[in-house]
């Protein structure tokens, strides 16, 4: 029994019981495919989350108001803000002074208010987003569908012009143009000069249900205030971002006469800090994925084990017969190992194919539904899934065969 005969024999045996062969192959196919599916789903989901985060840009610093003696990301700050404890110390002058720092590029700032807006008979409580004109340069998700954006001049002149979010346009002007028409806010008429592109719900805030307005117009004509809430700066050289953050903090403390950092009435938030949080989230996601993959490996491993174990165990009698006509243990082991390897190779290849098709199908469906999820089946995934299923298959083909081959022929012949 050199190599040629066991191979020939194995193919003959696999052929002679097509149902059993098919079940074994199917077991390995499903095992391999499900591991590939889970791994690529996990990787795809992770990439999706990373992508969503990166949409906001990684080169951005936010300066915003904060309740003193609380951490910016803390329940205390959030609840004191929500409770109406207004911090009114941040001004346009502040954020403009910060923008003069050396490593800072384009920027915008603003404040969010709420008013009732109406067009003819239609009334609606809306968010009014007072921003400086450069929002269009900084926020890559802010684009105009029609009309134009207000300018710095409009801001200085307290012009009564607005840009509508895409849903508001649909609410007030379901048919026809909005640009050139007027919307009434607090009894005053504002000319609509543009309509924003739809941008979807981000976090819990719906930017499509917003009226964009020059920040000073909002401050003076509608809200009667002097302060703002935040500013967003683009960093020119991210390698010096840490230094820039410190400069911003120093400048703000100087302007607000703050000696003790606990008294800070502002916070400087960068993607660098967010990144630390994100890294934590990703390590959790990775951990979950690892768990998920382990479970899928376990489940498919047990599945393959069952199929192979049963398939070989029910051949105990055959093993007894082969031994009774002169097969020795090595012959039996060689035969079953070769058969298992063939099954594992066929099943593994089929599993890769099906896993691959599945992942691409899911990507396709998700993309059709508007999610930019891309399930990637990389070679590591294939290698892990394939080698795991193949090894499990071969081992659990080998193991019962070895057990059976060690029995006396009479003993295995008695098995039904």
């Amino acid at each position: 029994m050199k190599l040629f005969i066991p191979l020939k024999l194995a193919f003959k045996n696999l052929q002679s019981n097509k149902a059993r062969t098919a079940f074994s192959v199917l077991g390995i196919v499903i095992g391999t495919a499900s591991v590939i599916a889970v791994m690529s789903l996990g990787a795809g989901l992770k990439n999706f989350v990373v992508g969503q985060v990166e949409i906001f840009g990684t080169d951005i610093v936010e300066l915003k108001i904060k309740t003193p003696k609380t951490k910016q990301i803390s329940a205390a700050n959030v609840s004191s803000m929500a409770g109406g404890a207004q911090i009114t110390t941040l001004t346009l002058d502040d954020i403009e002074a910060v923008s003069k720092l050396s490593n800072i590029g384009s920027w915008y700032g603003g404040i969010l208010g709420q008013e009732v807006a109406n067009v003819g008979e239609k009334n609606k409580q809306v968010f009014i987003f007072g921003v400086t004109a450069d929002i269009i340069k900084v926020d890559k998700n802010f684009k105009l569908r029609s009309g134009m954006m207000f300018s710095g001049e409009d801001d200085k002149n307290l012009s009564r012009v607005v840009v509508l979010g895409s849903k508001l346009k649909e609410t007030f002007f379901p048919e026809g143009e909005a640009v050139g028409k007027f919307v009434k806010i607090k009894g005053q008429r504002y000319r609509i000069i543009g309509v924003a592109e739809e941008r979807g719900v981000s976090g819990f805030f719906d930017f499509d249900n917003v009226v964009y307005i020059p920040v000073q117009t909002l401050q003076k004509k509608i809200m009667g205030i002097k302060h703002i809430q935040f500013a967003i700066y683009k960093i020119i050289d991210m390698r010096k971002a840490d230094l820039t953050l410190m400069e911003i903090t120093d400048l703000m403390r100087e302007r607000h006469n703050i000696k003790d950092s606990a008294e800070d009435d502002f916070a400087v938030v960068s993607i660098l800090e967010t990144k630390a949080i994100l890294d934590k989230i990703f390590s959790i996601i990775n951990f979950l994925l690892l768990g998920l993959v382990s479970i899928s490996l376990l489940v498919s491993g047990v599945g393959i084990m069952n199929v192979m174990y049963v398939a070989v165990s029910e051949r105990t009698k055959e093993i007894g017969l082969r031994k009774s006509i002169g097969a020795d243990n090595a012959d039996i082991l060689r035969q079953f190992t070769v058969e298992s390897i063939i099954l594992a190779l066929i099943g593994g290849a089929g599993g890769i194919l099906i896993g691959y098709i599945f992942s691409n199908a899911v990507s396709y469906v998700a993309n059709q539904a508007g999610f930019s999820v891309q399930l990637k089946v990389d070679w590591q995934t294939i290698a892990i899934a394939f080698s795991f299923s193949a090894l499990t298959g071969v081992f659990f083909g080998f193991y019962p065969a070895r057990k059976a081959s060690r029995m006396a022929p009479t003993e295995s012949l008695r098995k039904e």
């Binding site: 029994m1 002679s16 055959e318 082969r322 006509i325 002169g326 097969a327 012959d331």
Partner: protein, 254 residues
């Protein structure tokens, strides 16, 4: 050279040693010469199959000694025993034990695959056998010896019981063994098929092959030259058959 093929001394086989022990074979001693046709006879449960399996190296005795061709079988390794089963012994089972979903040809071929010296891949014999002629000839010869040549391409499950047993005998013959061990080969057959099997065994014996046949029927046993009677694992009689029955068509077995 001695004419003794098989010699057993104080052979015992105990199943489930311990509290529920069964002494299936209990301290038996006998000799069988080359070319003999011996029937082992006894009631159900008397230990016939157990004894036969030990003689055919399908199982090992619990105690006692077994000399095969003058050699103590205790000294053989597992692999040597496998080769003895392959080349020197042809076993015929009551339940045929053909591989299912496999052709008659492949069933008869099976022992050839485990015949070590012939299957050295680089041997001339094997290179010739790759062309299949020599091997095919052998298989066809074994099949014609049992009158089954015409079913060579049938699958084993397409055969009648008698045909299955004849294929099983062809398989036992393929490596030209010293001895044929048949454990109730007619037990699952009607009398007509049974006679055919007995006829084949008698023919093989007349060609010089040693035959050991297990049966519980006196009539069948009388086709042999000698009867070993066994009861509760012990040999109670060892007698010559005075009037050997000749298996021929038209005769009724039983």
């Amino acid at each position: 050279m001695s004419n003794i093929l098989i010699q057993v001394k104080n052979l015992s086989k105990i199943y489930n040693e311990g509290k529920s022990a069964t002494r299936a074979v209990n301290d038996v001693s006998f000799e069988i010469n080359k070319g003999e046709f011996v029937a082992i006879m006894g009631p159900s449960g008397s230990g016939k199959s157990t004894l036969m399996q030990i003689l055919g190296f399908l199982d090992k005795p619990t105690s006692g000694r077994y000399f095969f061709e003058g050699k103590d079988t205790k000294d053989f390794s597992e692999d040597e025993l496998a080769q003895i089963r392959n080349k020197k012994i042809g076993f015929v089972f009551q339940t045929f034990n053909l591989l299912p979903r496999t052709t008659v040809y492949e069933n008869v071929e099976l022992p050839l695959l485990y015949n070590k010296e012939k299957n050295n891949f680089f041997s001339w014999k094997n290179i010739f056998s790759l062309f299949g002629n020599q091997k095919k000839e052998k298989i066809m010869m074994a099949l014609s010896a049992v009158g089954m040549k015409h079913r060579v391409n049938y699958f084993s499950n397409q055969l009648s019981g008698g045909e299955k047993q004849r294929v099983a005998i062809a398989r036992a013959l393929i490596n030209n063994p010293e001895i044929i061990l048949a454990d109730e080969p007619t037990g699952n057959l009607d009398s007509k098929s049974g006679i055919q099997v007995m006829k084949i065994l008698q023919k093989l014996n007349s060609q010089g092959r040693t035959i050991i046949l297990v049966t519980h029927e006196t009539y069948t046993a009388e086709h042999a030259q000698r009867i070993l009677r066994i009861m509760d694992g012990k040999i109670i009689a060892d007698e010559k058959v005075v009037k050997i029955r000749k298996a021929q068509d038209g005769e009724i077995l039983k």
